[in-house]
Subunit: 343 residues, 4 copies
């Protein structure tokens, strides 16, 4: 039984992480913190937890002191120092924000408008896309947990790029996300009456997850990969569908499909659907699964890959737990047995 804690437990990813950790067989949640609600019980902020977990929100020092594994779910720019402290104190640190995802400091600065103030600590970090970098993750104690869109895009493209089946240029990632991806902060476009029955893209070809996706895909491909990425906001709570278009360079569609099945055959959280079946976001909701289905536009020579995840689970809290499980030597699926409800 290890002690785990959450810094920033009242954000959407934070409270989902708490919910999942409370059911983890190898974990005791020893401390949680919140800057905005310090001193209040978490169940006052989220009454769904009333009588289930009425723990009082403390500060981040408490969390670091009391816990072996520290999860941070914070706005970017705030995790570096905490990562440093935890690392030096021999803890496991898993950051759900963006501060440990990008290798290149200048890319981080370009997209996030901040500097890497403690450059050394980034050398200790691993990018926690479990299915792709598992072996590397095992050797680290500091994890940059992947973004939600990057998880959906990278898992969709990895087998095709690894196998050299598609061109590395001209890839299009057209993603659609539920509103929890935008977090708990209030804004007019997320006000119920404004968002309900609406649909639109946002940050067209200009979203911060673009360099993160390209970094991962380039590593997988072994050469620079460029994508055009357009996210859209779905008027639903949870889930991301990414529809990905790529030009086929070699191999038949059947070979490519077989390569996907093989690539993920031992993975417990990636389901490559039978040919002809179509990925639907609702079939992974509330779970740690990533579903993938493949299609072929023969006349255009294009491979179409559709992936779906729950942005709050596989795209955030669930994958964070999966990373903890890998590092701590637990069953990789421990605490992640949630079965998606049919409705």
């Amino acid at each position: 039984m290890i002690k785990a804690g959450i810094i920033g437990a009242t954000g959407y990813a934070g409270v989902e992480l708490l919910r999942l950790l409370l059911s983890h067989p190898d974990v005791e949640v020893a401390a949680i913190s919140s800057v905005s609600f310090e001193g209040k019980p978490i169940s006052e902020i989220y009454p769904s937890l009333y009588q289930i977990d009425d723990m009082t929100l403390g500060n981040q020092e408490d969390v670091i002191k009391k816990c072996d594994v520290v999860f941070a779910s914070l706005p970017h720019g705030l995790s570096e120092e905490m990562g440093r402290k935890c690392f030096d104190a021999g803890k496991v640190f898993i950051d759900l924000g963006a501060d440990f995802r990008l290798d290149a400091a200048d890319v981080y600065t370009k997209w996030y408008g901040k500097e890497y103030n403690i450059p050394d600590i980034h050398k200790e970090a691993v990018y926690g896309l479990c299915e792709i970098f598992r072996d590397d993750i095992k050797k680290h104690r500091l994890v940059g947990n992947p973004g939600c869109y990057p998880t959906s895009a990278a898992l969709a493209l990895a087998p095709a790029l690894k196998g050299g089946f598609i061109e590395t240029k001209g890839i299009i990632v057209d993603s659609k996300s539920g509103t929890t991806g935008a977090g708990r902060g209030l804004s007019q476009n997320l006000h119920y009456a404004d968002c309900n029955e609406s649909f639109a893209p946002y940050k067209v070809a200009n979203h911060r997850h673009t360099p993160e996706i390209e970094q991962t895909l380039s590593k997988i491909a072994g050469e620079p990969v460029k994508i055009t990425f357009v996210p859209h906001l779905l008027p639903i709570n949870r889930g991301i569908v990414s529809t990905v278009y790529a030009d086929i360079k070699s191999g038949t569609f059947e070979e490519i499909y077989k390569a996907y099945v093989d690539f993920y055959k031992d993975e417990r959280f990636v389901r490559v659907l039978p040919l002809g079946k179509i990925t639907n976001l609702k079939e992974v909701r509330m779970s740690n699964y990533c579903d993938i289905s493949l299609f072929y536009d023969k006349e255009a020579g294009k491979l179409i890959i559709v992936s779906a995840i729950d942005n709050m689970v596989k795209g955030a809290a669930g994958q964070a737990i999966q990373n903890m499980n890998i590092i701590c030597g637990f069953d990789e699926a421990a605490g992640l047995g949630m079965i998606p409800p049919a409705f």
Copy 2:
């Protein structure tokens, strides 16, 4: 480890029951059946279960033969004979339909248009409202699992009626339910474009759950209780809120509130909220909780009780498992540890 099975596993309650049983620590799901989809894997009907449970749907004979506990989730009129068979074979039989809920045969016939064909078997049945009839449930092996509205109404009114705080006449139950209450059958008013952004009552003062609610409340009160019951259809998937109005006969509001807290103080699935807090359906969604909050209209002398449950869990599959746990001597909360997600 007992063997459990589901007759009618492809309806909404059936598949939710399957989902929950798959995570139950003391249960192995040994067989499932469906008349419409016999011979197909359940994951073909519900792709959310792909690679999680690809069990083939058999027939009801299989289920009865292979299982110690048989759950039936069927249209009314079909469970009597199965109840007879299971009872005679020494099995536990838990019926999620209406066939074993009503004591009086003529009331059943009036509201459901069918006869009790095997009158004897009804003497072996218990009404499975766990918090109210727990001691009685322990002595039975055949359960009429309560309807969703009756669960929400009876738990809301039990302490007030038991304590003699309210009049037994003039009670109003204004309930609002998500669409899964209506089941999987297609109908125009549940077609997405018709139902979305709509709201209306249905079966006004004429719903089949009325006699079931009155039967339970009368038992609790020790005298005949009459209610006016109006259900409404909410354009959401899950959950019921019942807003209940009753005339206060004796006691102060504070005394009544205290009586509620005391009544449910040892219950793991009923949460009486602190005064001033308001029950919201989303805070019990996906869980077996029933939340209750109390209000007082001083000028009108009325007690207002608001209860919320997830109609598919506490109102169906969850309570069915709770009944099994009671009868089989498991921890009453086994397999029911689901924490409601914050969103």
Copy 3:
């Protein structure tokens, strides 16, 4: 062609009023104002109006100066002075807020926490519930436009109270409203992910519309009427359904139904549905209709009335225009010919 203007044109009621006035055959929208967005085109705040109406938002002085009819859609407490100015300048003033709805200054103070600072001006005001007070409205130039819940409740109860069919005590109004009723202000419970798939009552037996409903019903009944009023928030954009319960005092159900049909037979915006039909909010959405259906709980001796309106139209902007039409001598339905869409 008269000149009309809107003070507070960027709130939900304000922009809906603008939308409707732009299609009114006898009206030219001469000026609109907003404190928050003065100097900006309205179409920057609401891009749906781009190239349709790009008028710049001015200040309230502009509106009063340029217009014959001034609509105000403002937080309570701000309309009194404007009413005074408009009245003195010979304008028609229609207030969509609460400042001119309540006769008794102390009741206003109790529920809204402010004083009537210009008591005299309230004597010039009429309560603009068109179907009930039409003759009186014609003689006035200053209108307190009814609240949304009060409109739905009063139209539901008027014929029964007028005819002396029901008791004036013990009436219950259980209302359910879409989120536009809460306005444009951001709040956590209206954040999309919090509100979606949720349902709860709010301000239970403690909502500001209670005294307004009671004032109207008492006038209609000719004696004091007390109600228990519980509003609920529906996760949809528009519409209110009120389910109203009252004890029948005299008359058969058939007589009562006939009285409803007679009472509203010449009304263009109230539809008493045939017996057996059930009011659904979607059938009045985007229109100025109020639909009413009647039910009878024989055993309990209760009359159940279900009414539905679009809170933004009949409950706000539409009724405001109807009031203008009555006062200005236009066809009462001018500019209000919107047919509710089927979906």
Copy 4:
């Protein structure tokens, strides 16, 4: 005042057309028909029309006989004969189905599985995409009203193809549609609880609207255009957003944007948004507008065009009326002045 009628008035497009025609200043709706509901008042099928239009549904012969303009909203394969009859009788015939959209009989057969049985009549038909083929439409009396997706895709791409700015190969159209696009027929995936909170593509690279889009784009470009088309189902009622990706062949982004503004500068129903603004489906809902916004992925050399329409209005009933207006010499915007509501 011309007499218009609708064959198939109870489908989603049919009833929306009826609703709009009832407010058209130059039209009297003289007859409506339905095979399923012949002999019933339309307001029994759609109670939103109660007391507004209680016209009885007749048969198609009635409609053809009584009307100058006949609209047909029927499953494919049923319109050919009606088109023949109406044309021979000197009527205007506007078909909202697919039977008169495709020039090539073999393409129709390939995608719709039926033959052109009356080949001659197709020579009399014009493809009714108003903004592109207006001059041609004026000379015809038989119109194949465009499909919803084709309208959104063709208006999005027309200026770029016309100006030779983009490659004619490799174009990707990723569309998302509300559920009214699927029509009134019941199906499991459109059952409320199945569809709500879900999102998925369907008929990936295999949708019948593909050849229609390619036919139109090829005419505009003057050479064969091939697209990859993937539609998705949005859990909302109305509206289509198409996100279109194309490789830029010549011209700067500024030149392209200017070409769009110029192309549509005299159009009353196409709004090219200012640079930096993003098209949102809610801003065209319930109206005949098509909104278009343009983006540039410089590194990838791609033009990204986002268009939005209301699938039931500009994508069906509204455009049908626009075609009637053009042919009959009415103001092109007559009866189409609906302003999109802000929420």
